[in-house]
Symmetry: C2
Amino acid sequence: MTQNKLITPRKLSGFMELDPPKQLLFDKMVEKIKNVYSKSGFMPLDTPVLEYREILLAKSGGSIDKELYAFKKGDTDICMRYDLTVPLARYVAMNVNTLSFPFKRYQIGKVYRGEKAQKGRFREFYQCDADIIGLEELPLVADAECLSIVDKVFKSLGLKVVIHVSNRNVLFGYCEALGASDKTQDILVILDKINKIGKENAVEELKKLGVNEENCQKLIDITLKCGNFDAILSQIENLSDNDTYQKGVNEIKEVYTYLKALGVDESCYLLDLGIIRGQNYYTGTVFEAMMPEHPEFLTVCGGGRYDNLAGYFTDKKLPGVGLSIGLTRLFDLLDNAGMLEKVKPTNFDLQIIPMGETICQCLKLKNYFENFLVCDVNYENRSFKAKMKEANRKKVPFIIIVGENEVKSNNYSLKNMYTGEQYNLSKEECLKVISQYLKQ
Amino acid sequence: MTQNKLITPRKLSGFMELDPPKQLLFDKMVEKIKNVYSKSGFMPLDTPVLEYREILLAKSGGSIDKELYAFKKGDTDICMRYDLTVPLARYVAMNVNTLSFPFKRYQIGKVYRGEKAQKGRFREFYQCDADIIGLEELPLVADAECLSIVDKVFKSLGLKVVIHVSNRNVLFGYCEALGASDKTQDILVILDKINKIGKENAVEELKKLGVNEENCQKLIDITLKCGNFDAILSQIENLSDNDTYQKGVNEIKEVYTYLKALGVDESCYLLDLGIIRGQNYYTGTVFEAMMPEHPEFLTVCGGGRYDNLAGYFTDKKLPGVGLSIGLTRLFDLLDNAGMLEKVKPTNFDLQIIPMGETICQCLKLKNYFENFLVCDVNYENRSFKAKMKEANRKKVPFIIIVGENEVKSNNYSLKNMYTGEQYNLSKEECLKVISQYLKQ
């Protein structure tokens, strides 16, 4: 190989790249999420990372254009997906005649957003989505099912979350009742950021839309309602007799009934009318999961109900409800907060170290232990001392030293690197000692 | 949502998109491969899909430029990765001072090649790679370890393969000995395609390079040597005393010794001097796994030894050896040959079907069964008959029907959809019957 001028190795900024011990922890989280989705009867889907640009822009109408990784290949306008929902819509629309509904799919994959790089923002990140899609209709039980899955996922991850639930029809109806239905979307945008901008600024912005002082206060009051379902329901159920409002209240009640039937622990969810969710495709139930001990993490999982998944692609009505976890961001938050499991610098349980010309005997031993353990032979051309140092540094739990005497006697020198205990045992006995220790 | 003109949902050609039951089988294969890599002590790495174009082109010097998905984002020249090896080289070069060597990593991820779309060729496909990288040196045991992993992976997939092994130094040295060392690369390109173009055409092409008739024959004869290690080694070990040639022969012998020590079944590998591997970065051991019962599948896994992984990025010498499985192509081949496991249209073990107003009782039952089974409630607003038909179509193994009488009596009507057997039992007894059947 000719030695050219060296190119400095570097990676694009805003792209997470974990070292392998941390990647192992990340993969474990993926595994747990996948497991919950799968046990809840969701089937996997793996759509391409690339789509026709026209398909990805169908829904947004170009508003996210700037964030897209879009390019031409030959004559084709191509785009990297920016979420997993539009590809799902495209997939269901293409296969609507052969799929069986309700269609429950999960997808865990990378999505791409060319946002300004900043701490905690990633341009490539994993979304872990589960959605239930109905044909023509989808009962509200599905909404409760999604909420119970959120609960299960975070329990499986060992993270305490509370799911803040609302229903968009409540605020839709409330705006209608206040005679502001033409400004509903703008009003919701302002109410969505009360916590960020403060009450007073929210009032100012609402006034600019032409909402009067009294109604501003009413809107803010209702948005700030947050507590257990029974308490909040009793406060809001008679606030308005607007049909959309009452539809929202009744949907909340029905979902609540199902949540109780599903046995979801009542301390794990709240009715919070401040949950609005930016995307305007949500049409009913909306929710965000937060970690009460880490409010600074903000939303760690969100989702909701949409009336029509694929209206841009098919005439068939496809109502759905889903949840999404931005795992790359969550992992980064947990990592920075020191909340990850302890990393294991190696996944070896045992390292076999040859002393002298015993490499083939070591390989045979490896072959034996591998049926039970993750086992490695240190076959490097380095001194015995260097190898011992390396085993220590890697925190391999056990080592076996194989010199020529050990080969002759069929008894091996086993060392527990944590306790320092040493043994001289047959391979079968070594296995017993190691297995017993690792089981603890 | 305003109903615009519909956009026809379509996906880019050359991109595999499996329906969920098949995706389940694909994911199972990924799981098995990952499991072997992981149990062999390899740690996961997950590099970004996007890299600086300059980095990806460092090695190839632009020769694969046409195939690349490359584009500009702002001022940055970006590229989608076309393999997992260059990103590994970039990663190791960036982290060479903190990694511990030998560095064993696996990566299972999608790569992108904008090749002409044709049957069996994919523009987005999974590579499942495992590599061992040394610092300054890496003993030949690592080559044998990679070969034993190939063997284990395919055994875990239930696929019979034979690994064809060679060492490039043999043909390098042979060319040297014939006085054609300046043309070695060109000669290897021709020898690599003997099976495709036939012996006679190969001779013609070799002659064009200026190789004489006798040497043409010699080159073809040695390239066609293929059989068990003992037999072929005895035929070739004295064919030339060229140093490089003898180095190749000795390396083969050493790897063979380790393969035996590792207990790899001798019927699973052959010495085949026709294995050359296109990429000119291989410098020693090279191998390809083939399925003897399906020669038309050609190579299902390949790999080999390279002297220097990251010579374009660092002065540190990083020899390595690795293997790669193109899983998307392999899955497609198995699918077309009818060799996949039977697909399961659903992953539910049990579906609970409400009759009348029993949905909450059904959810409570689901909550109970979910601790043991994958269980679903059919909560659709459809007739009982339609639901039964659906359960049949989905091949759900068991259904439980929950009417008001069942709720009162706490005894449920359980049906085995495969045998047609019906029971009337408590939920605990239902669970026993189902578990027993599913265990078979």
